[in-house]
């Protein structure tokens, strides 16, 4: 028995096994791609709040009673803090990036800048997040999202924004499906104690 793996397995069981995080992340990117088609910008915050609330409630009322509760130690809490700082930093970086993408930067046209920086940022941020949260599926999502955003930026000029957005839609639907399968298997395996 390896204590390091025991802690990691407990963490994964508590946070990754149920597939809710896959569904949440997939839904966030799905909303992003749907928004490209529909241009419902003013609904953005409400949709995000709905997704976060749905995730929190499902965790509390569906997963909690089936899995129980656990509090992790100092080392794990440090890792979570690092992941949160990374998310905050990437949100800041996203803001800067958005500003830069509006202008030509260092002589590069807007298209090249976005096509290169955006996928790399997604890959690095999600890759680091996967590392800090011990969530292996996130590495795959990082690669898939980086590729789909690169495809989106590259073909949106030639084929139009909507055609380009299909790559992101496909990836996010894949994430939601993986999450749904994991959730189904979780609910099948772990029933509430009084069932």
């Amino acid at each position: 028995m390896n204590l390091k793996y025991t802690e990691r397995d407990a963490w994964r069981m508590a946070h990754c096994l149920d597939g809710l995080i896959d569904i949440f992340l997939g839904a966030v990117f799905l909303w992003f791609s749907i928004n490209i088609f529909l241009n419902w910008d003013n609904l953005g915050l409400a949709i995000m709040a709905l997704l976060v609330a749905g995730h929190v409630l499902a965790k509390k009322y569906v997963i909690g009673p089936r899995l129980g509760h656990v509090k992790f130690g100092r080392v794990r809490r440090k890792k979570v803090l690092k992941a949160n700082l990374l998310l905050f930093g990437s949100a800041m970086l996203g803001g800067v990036f958005l500003l830069l993408s509006k202008f030509s930067f260092m002589g590069l046209p807007e298209f090249s800048l976005v096509a290169v920086i955006l996928p790399i940022t997604i890959l690095v941020v999600l890759g680091l997040l996967a590392w800090y949260t011990d969530f292996p599926r996130l590495y795959l999502y990082a690669v898939m999202l980086a590729i789909s955003f690169a495809v989106f930026v590259m073909i949106k000029e030639a084929a139009g924004v909507r055609t380009g957005a299909f790559a992101i839609t496909a990836t996010s639907v894949f994430m939601v499906c993986v999450g749904a399968v994991n959730l189904f298997l979780f609910l099948k395996r772990y029933r509430t104690p009084h069932d």
């Binding site: 028995m1 204590l3 407990a10 069981m13 129980g68 509760h69 656990v70 509090k71 104690p193």
Partner: protein, 94 residues
């Protein structure tokens, strides 16, 4: 001398799982160790009697909730057990 209380496989698993987290409730330990309710309960009683595990009562929202955690004595006993087992399994030097 190997600690007989920890040496029993089910109790060893319980101690190991509680050693790597701060605290966990009964259900989470059941899921992690795949022990039945009765089994877990009887082993927990033995660990509690030995002073290795403590019951922490807390509130989750408005509902009272029972969490289990290793005591300082329990952590020390598990550290010692690990050390002794490592020593017991060591090969003699040439």
């Amino acid at each position: 001398m190997i600690d007989r209380i920890i040496h029993e496989p089910a109790r060893f698993r319980l101690m190991a799982h509680l050693y790597v987290v701060e605290s966990a409730d009964f259900l989470f330990l059941m899921r992690q160790t795949e022990l039945t309710f009765g089994n877990l309960s009887s082993h927990m009683t033995k660990l509690e009697k030995a002073g290795y595990v403590k019951v922490v009562k807390e509130f989750m929202g408005r509902k009272p909730h029972t969490m289990l955690a290793l005591t300082k004595k329990g952590k020390g006993a598990f550290d010692l057990y690990r050390k002794e087992m490592k020593g017991a399994l060591e090969l003699p030097e040439d």
